[in-house]
């Protein structure tokens, strides 16, 4: 990595830490959600409808996905569109640094924040509510990585085409709710009626939730879910690169 890219990443990480709102929703809120749900006694009992799993077991991966979606869809596009709108990219374009480095830093930092949040969620789930560590750690990491890549790429499309930070936040909010619904925030994917479930499993949130659930139980995720995530990540990344507006 060239030196300007490194100093840009260092500077952007300082700036990222100065956004208490983003920090809270990405890094603290998902864990808080696990704590709140875990405090409801019935959610800690095995449920017949869930093949003997507990509600809290299902909400650990959902909370991690919540963090990924918050970071990618709600936070990152606003930063990108703001840098375009405020002509930060333009000023950097006149120097030996590349404006692309500023954008790359956003992917790296938001991705890293999600990883931290995921570790927190898993630790708190394990320690406070006895949620078993993922049965297949490798599979869990794989699905999470693909899900994060898909979410960040979708956020990259929003941040790339929205002309202003405000518009990108508005688009982000519009995309946020369907993504959280498909990830199972309101009702875990497993509990959805069959027809709806088939459709939801084609979305990045749905495929990721199911894949993480399988990995948590120690299985290798179905190829179907992995494929859905890979396709979303590739298509969105392609669109983000193709349609990004520098001005």
């Amino acid at each position: 990595m060239s030196s300007p890219a490194r100093t840009i990443l260092r500077t952007e990480s300082k700036l990222f830490l100065r956004e208490p709102g983003a920090m809270f929703w990405i890094m603290a809120f998902p864990t808080l959600l696990v704590v709140i749900l875990g405090s409801i006694p019935s959610f800690r009992d095995p449920s017949k409808g869930l093949d003997g799993a507990r509600v809290i077991d299902l909400y650990v991966p959902i909370s991690i996905l919540l963090s990924a979606i918050m970071a990618s869809i709600q936070s990152m596009p606003g930063v990108m569109a703001g840098y375009r709108e405020q002509r930060v990219l333009r000023r950097v374009a006149t120097t030996p640094a590349r404006p692309f480095d500023l954008l790359a830093a956003q992917y790296v930092l938001h991705g890293a924040a999600v990883v931290v949040s995921a570790v927190l969620v898993l630790l708190v789930g394990r320690i406070a509510f006895d949620v078993k560590s993922p049965g297949s750690a490798g599979a869990y990491v794989l699905v999470l990585t693909l899900a994060l890549a898909a979410c960040l790429a979708i956020g990259g499309v929003i941040g790339g085409v929205a002309p202003t930070a405000r518009i990108s936040t508005a688009i982000g909010t519009l995309v946020f709710f369907p993504m959280m619904f498909t990830a199972g925030l309101w009702a875990p994917v497993q509990t959805m009626p069959h027809g709806l479930r088939t459709v939801v499993e084609l979305t990045p949130g749905g495929a990721a939730a199911r894949g993480l659930d399988q990995a948590a139980l120690g299985h290798w995720p179905s190829a179907h879910f992995v494929l859905v995530l890979v396709v979303w990540a590739l298509v969105a990344a392609g669109a983000a690169a193709r349609y990004f507006r520098w001005e």
């Binding site: 030196s3 300007p4 100093t7 840009i8 500077t11 952007e12 300082k14 700036l15 100065r18 956004e19 703001g82 840098y83 405020q86 002509r87 930060v88 333009r90 000023r91 374009a93 006149t94 120097t95 030996p96 640094a97």
Partner: protein, 305 residues
Amino acid sequence: MSIIQIRGLRMTYGTKVAVDGLDLDVAEGEILGILGPNGAGKTTTVECIAGLRRPGEGSVQVASLDPYVDRTAITPLMGVQLQQAGLQAKLTVREALELYASFYDHPRDGLELAERLGLSESIDVRYAKLSGGQQQRLAIALALIGRPRIALLDELSTGLDPRSRRDVWGLVEEAREGGATVILVTHLMEEAHRLCDRLALIDHGRITAIDSPEGLVARSAAPTIMAFTPSQPVDTGALWDLTGVTDVRQHGERIELAGDDDSVTAALGWLARHDVRVGRLRVTESTLDDAYLDLTGDPVLTEEN
């Protein structure tokens, strides 16, 4: 060999022609001022030199490179202050200087630059909290921090108070002493006169005049202005007919006559012959402002008015 060479540059936005066949050569070590009315194509020209825009037609060469294509080679040589360019809202002055210094191999001391530009007290203030003038001074510091061989400064002193303006001028003169070539877009005649070796007037996307500041003044239709209060009413029509006179105006009792040196002699002779005594006589050379007005027909924009 000129360090900046523009040939037949033409830029259009939709149907609007911003730059229309512009040629320009800038010698190394020169400070070139670009003057012209708003919308004349000044900023577009600067952005083409900076390599931010691809020339529609024609060519732009900077230090024998194509600034739009050879980004890696050209950016270390250039410092650019754009009219519209921001910084991250929560970045402090110190952090901005450190960040931009890290982009170059032999940067200047950011704290010293800040001190020179009166930013020392705001060194830990975030960009969004700075006043417009402070943001402007920071932009200049960032443009000069890499010791550029070529500095492009678009509206250098817009929004600056007279004191900061002089600080900035000092830095530009210093950069030139260090061998830098400077292109300066300005609306301030005082700035143009004091700093620039040559001035280029751009109007409707073309260079309409290019000369030293003194040369431009001399080209003005009426380089000399004579003002006086006559002892008795004077037939201004007769003054119009005198040699070299281009304008006669009466302001109350006072008469202002524009022309050249010969018209002054002629007017004084005519007045003596008609027994008019001349009170409070003032003869002044016309200024760059007048020359500018003459050559563009555009009202001068100075911050003072």
